[in-house]
Amino acid sequence: MLVHVPGPWSPLLGRLALSEIPYKNLILAPLFVLIVLVGLALVGWITKRGLWGYLWREWFTTVDHKKLGIMYIFLGLVMLFRGFIDGLMIRTQQMLAVGPGDNGIKAMGAIHGYLTPFHFGQIYSAHGLIMILLAATPLLVGLMNIIVPLQIGARDMAFPYLNALGFWITAAGAALIMISLFVGDFSHNGWFGYAPIFEMSYSPGVGVDYWIWTLELIALGTTLGSINFLATVVKMRAPGMTWGRLPVFTWSAVSANIIALTSFPCLQVALALVGADRYLGTHFFTAGFGGNLMLYTNLFWLWGHPEVYFVILPAFGMLGEIIPTFSEKPLFGYVAMVLATFAIAGVSWIVWLHHFFTMGMGPYVSTEFSVATMLVGIPTGVKVFNWAFTMYRGRISYTAAMHWALGALFLLLIGGLTGMMLSIPAINYMVHNSVFVVAHFHMMLLCIVYAVFGAVIYWWPKVFGFRLNEAWGKIMFWLFSAGTALVFIPMFMLGFMGETRRLDWPFDPHWAGLFDVQEFGIAIYVLSVVSFVVLLFVSIRDRAKERVGADAWGTSRSLEWLTDSPVPFYNFAMVPEINARDEVAWRREHGFLDIRPDHYKAIHMPNNTPVALYIGATLFLLGFALTWRIWWLSGIALLATVALMIWRSAKGDPGYVISAEEIARLDREARQKMPVDGGDTVPVGGFAGGQIMAYSREVSDQDRSHRGPKSW
């Protein structure tokens, strides 16, 4: 082997051994048993109901952008829960450990609190990585996946198979980080990793390797997804959907995915070099032998900063859809909004240094990056003002979705204020690496979570055909907000008290009171999680009462509200012709909302495929085998991945065609199912003197699929 690996290694199992499974750990062992039991119960239930075939056909092998979106969101929610449990453990440790003396729980081997330092390090590292990359990102990608094609009037994403591949690779990353709980351990160096502590000499375990391969998988999945989004929006827009009419959410998806496509490769390269150091014994980021550890920090944040905008921009887009709908007004300053979105995306490239002003790069460089960072505040401010003026002269109804959207707006104000403090080196030196920074970015990331909850409530009826329970949505909002206030206001205060981040033992007893308040806040968060479960349960129970038609809220504005709820698998029976920026609002105003097509055309659809799932599985194996240095398994997994890719590419997918008659029948049935009466049948383009067209006339569906990217 090229590098010396401390501890035993065998050709068959690599570094894996029974002792790597923490069966003695008082937290992990019971948790493992619990998970196994729940898992077995689930498998048993599915088998009893005979659901495997259904799951396989309709979900595991699907290439439908809506189903993949739902799976992304499901994954995001599961990981959000896992990340929340991590957060709960972090808070509990600090609350128990604070102050002098040895107050540790001896049975768990802790001097302070209930966790050893190393275990604590793993928990916050996993927390950060999971929340940013496996909770926020999949939630946003999932919502983009569902909504973007609908908003531009497309049948699916440009590359449906690639879409499935992106999902399964991301899921493989999630599986890898989850398995690190029970087999070996995870990195303890924070979600972004520090050089050179992640080198073999200072992190001799497998934790950092898990971290590398988890991140690599997610990065791969997200990059593939971003290509797909960009191709979709560029090539698949319905006739009349000019760039000037693109809904703001789609605009924000475009800008976010440009960021993702250009920045994720930086991360992949940085991590590949870390991998080279750890596996091949190179010296890219070592302190000695000409390595440059500051290079890692630069490369990481060169991705890391754009990444935070990759996650916030779609959230901004969601606010841009929810607020106008419930204010019953168009978005204020559409053009300014789009410009601001791209300004943020552009500037996000030249600010990465603000994450390490303390490296001592001198006043000229510091100033440049400080001013550049503050420039981001300008378009962000514009956006806030524009949302505010969208409500001005509006008619605001405070639905649950609107609650979440407005909550996000206030969090953004606090996050922006504190961000503008951090962007100034003179101030940054005092609070960098303190929990003040932690509170800052939690305001921003919670802004995303609020927007996502708002968006889930807002678009739920479009996907499932019924609305979520409003009362429980609001109860959850208030509980969640109380939790946020109780956890994060003390965190800002602790930052001003000088508490640095990542302390498994907070040494100053002055902090104790605020830790208790935070723990209370966590308890309220737990209640909000419970209320979320109740929300889902009550809504699904009462779904018959809450059935909605195409235009679920009655005041919606963009194109996705034109097609039936739930959306049929082919999205639109006939591709609509776009006449205005807020197409549905425009049709409502002119009384064309209920027009159905009078004739149909055949639709070309992609076939399902299990290959994406297989590749996800082989890549998971590859990550696992590399982590444990099981070379033979790595080789097999890599070969299998490549073989599957080649085989699938050679085979291609001709897709299948749904005949016009079949579409007509499905459309009729869907109309009968919907509570709101479908309107009159009007000849296509046959009203208002032929100037206005409801459905595409010039381009047949067959033509469209041939104009677009060819291979499904």
């Binding site: 001097i111 303890h188 050089a195 502590i197 605001i396 503008m420 030196y429 990542r502």
Partner: protein, 322 residues
Amino acid sequence: MTTKKWLQMGQYAAILLTTMLLGGCARHSPWWIFDPKGVGARASYDYMMIDIAVMLSIVGLTAIMIVWFMIRYRKGGGGGKYDGKWSHSMTIEFFTWGIPIAAVAFLSWAVAINGSFALNPYNPTVITHTMKPKGDPVDVDVIATDWQWLFIYPQFHHIAVANELVVPAHTPVFFKLTSTAVTTDFFVPQLVGMIDVMPGMRTKDALEVDHRGSYQGIAADYCGAGTSWMLFKTKVVSMRDFHRWVKTAEAQPETMNYHQFNEFARPYINVHYKTPIYGHVEPGLFNHVILEVMNGKKWPLPMFMTENMYAYLQKQAKEHRA
């Protein structure tokens, strides 16, 4: 109903904010950032207040405006006139861009640019230009190990002290910093902001304190299992007391050459708050360490200090209790 709740939330926030700011004025307050005792920390504090004032006036007014819109334009009640078509106004657009631009321009000049020079760690003009020091500057070489601090005073017979920093008041202190194994941050919240200490490299920082006392120093960046214990007290004493301390330190029999340093730098969690003083260390130890690290010297972490620290920590805890 909902608006009332929003207002209530605002009230709580206001109360919390005032307690927070009042807390900053109390004597010996735990609000270290609001209670600066060093020249650099005070300058940072001043810049922070300017920044907060400017930003809070904008963000606060915006929040009030939003709440007002929320109340006035709510459906069925607010009394605001509904205009479902209105979506643009050049005048408003002018202000929505103009206000942030003006604020950023002002902050760039007043705090970002000025502050970066005033508090440049390598040459903080608040210390080097504006202050009239009462004595000659004191140099301190700082070496961070896994997980201890070593402070060397090259001007004073190369005395050194571990895990405790002693400096005279009213006198500039210039630091050179490096690390043996991994990166961390040197930070004394009430005196001086953070600066990275990196293996194989040298950074600089400077300090001037105008209040005698004892201040907590912290390793602010995560650097492994011992991070939380990697603390040091900064004792700020009068010049006379400082020289007295130097005399006693010089009299200490313990010395340290590179070989002994090699032992000292092995991973060690300082749970017992040991602060050994060395009467003399090898001159040039600081540069020697940097050179060794550049040439690949490492102090690797043994496995028992990573995955399974149980045994190690229990041993340490037993010693601690004894």
